[in-house]
């Protein structure tokens, strides 16, 4: 089903900014950066272990996006979704160069996240259990939880990024959370 081209932060002038940036207008690209740095950086934060890596990757994403502007055609595909796709490709390269040490490998990942575990052992265990359970879900379940729950993106934007319909995203999220809940309620094997 084609995805409806309307978006949260995808104001109509995104297309104009892209056109201007393509023509060499650095300010227009700067405005696109200001609009989308935060969601892209936060997405990268939940995908890698260290904030420094997320920062490096964010730089790579915007640089690649700038260099690929000529190849970007809106056609119902918002610029933020284009950036998201560039970010996913950058993550693939990142993992290729630096395989994850966690053993969860392609479990792809919530990473350690930005919040340090505190001294509260109970909370630390709960967080660890959540990460572990999440990492064991199918990739599209993990992704919808990352975008819709952890980044709090609206359903429409999540749909555009994941190239699905909003209805499909709602059902996917319902199933993903139900599966996560079920995993968390499984008895601990240890």
């Amino acid at each position: 089903m084609p995805v409806r081209p309307v978006l949260m932060s995808e104001k109509p002038i995104d297309a104009d900014l892209v056109e201007r940036a393509r023509a060499g207008d650095g300010e227009a690209f700067g405005e696109l950066y200001r609009r989308y740095f935060d969601p892209i950086f936060r997405y990268l934060c939940v995908r890698v272990d260290r904030a420094e890596d997320a920062e490096d990757l964010a730089g790579t994403v915007f640089l690649r996006a700038y260099r690929s502007l000529d190849r970007y055609r809106e056609r119902g595909w918002p610029f933020s979704a284009f950036l998201y796709q560039v970010a996913r490709n950058a993550l693939v390269d990142h993992y290729r160069k630096r395989p994850r040490e966690s053993g969860l490998a392609e479990a792809i990942d919530l990473g350690t996240g930005p919040r340090e575990l505190d001294d509260d052992l109970e909370r630390a265990e709960r967080v660890q259990a959540m990460r572990q359970a999440l990492a064991e879900l199918p990739p599209d379940y993990q992704e919808v939880i990352r975008l819709r729950v952890l980044l709090s993106l609206p359903t429409e934007t999540t749909a555009q990024w994941m190239e699905r319909s909003p209805g499909a995203v709602r059902v996917l999220l319902y199933r993903a959370l139900a599966a996560l809940r079920s995993k968390l309620s499984e008895p601990d094997e240890d």
Binding site: D38, R42, E55, V127, L150, G167, R170, L173
Partner: protein
């Protein structure tokens, strides 16, 4: 997928964004909404700090500028012997960051290197360790913005000038927000100069640019009035001095309780 599952999924989607709604419809949905809330609370990443945002932007703009410059260099040097080219490219690569920064100093809004210039300003602010340092930098940057407007209008680039004029109120807001007591005199002088420049610019501005120009003038004036108001506010009295003044108003210092007899006995 059953219609029941779809309606539960729709309800969950609404409830996730509206925790204040309270009623969850069913125990099962309530548990999923609570799970989503726990995930957000424990695992959601914080917004990117401003310093990080500025650092990445500076890096990206530098690399874009470096790429553009090396393409230009490659074209210009294509007829030279390969070894000379290799040496020059190496030298350029090593020197480029500084070159890009230098070249960007003269960049105007709408120029390719303008992003580098603004990115470097952000980096300077990030590196400034004191409020006084921030305030000084912001004043200098404010002057630059006004100079850029004047240069753009002199060159007839009214489209870019109009955009720069539209951004000017933010410049004033930043100046006022960063203002320190010791900067008020220099800020007043700067804002007076801004008004003079803007009035000069207005003499030749086309009608399309007039609304943005008028707004910029109003904001420069608003900024100057606010600075004047702050300059004439009574200065806070240092705590020690306040105590002395209070004592003077209260009359002769009283002998602390318990010391009367000691003083008297000394007589």
């Amino acid at each position: 997928m059953t219609s029941d599952e779809r309606s539960r999924a729709d309800a969950l989607d609404r409830l996730i964004d509206d925790r204040a709604a309270g009623a969850t419809g069913s125990e099962d949905l309530g548990a999923l909404v609570a799970l989503a809330a726990d995930l957000r609370s424990d695992l959601a990443p914080a917004p990117a700090p401003k310093a990080r945002r500025a650092r990445v932007l500076a890096r990206v703009t530098n690399r874009i500028a470096a790429g553009q410059a090396s393409r230009r260099q490659g074209w210009a040097l294509s007829l030279r012997p390969a070894y000379a080219l290799a040496g020059l490219v190496l030298a350029l690569t090593l020197a480029f960051s500084a070159t890009a920064a230098y070249a960007s100093e003269a960049a105007l809004p709408g120029d390719v290197l303008y992003g580098v210039k603004r990115g470097l300003e952000d980096v300077q602010l990030v590196l400034s360790a004191t409020a006084a340092g921030d305030s000084g930098l912001i004043e200098r940057f404010a002057d630059r913005r006004v100079d850029e407007i004047e240069t753009l209008t002199r060159r007839g680039r009214w489209g870019d000038a109009e955009r720069a004029l539209q951004a000017y109120p933010e410049v004033v807001d930043e100046m006022l927000a960063a203002s320190q007591v010791e900067d008020l005199d220099s800020q007043a002088a700067r804002l007076t100069r801004h008004l003079e420049v803007l009035i000069r610019v207005g003499a030749n501005a086309p009608s399309e640019a007039q609304p943005a120009l008028l707004r910029a003038l109003e904001n420069a004036n608003r900024g100057r009035q606010e600075v004047e108001r702050r300059r004439h506010e009574p200065k806070p009295v240092p705590p020690g001095q306040m105590e002395a003044d209070d004592d003077a108003e209260r009359g002769p210092k009283k002998t602390p309780p318990g010391q009367e007899s000691k003083n008297q006995s000394g007589d």
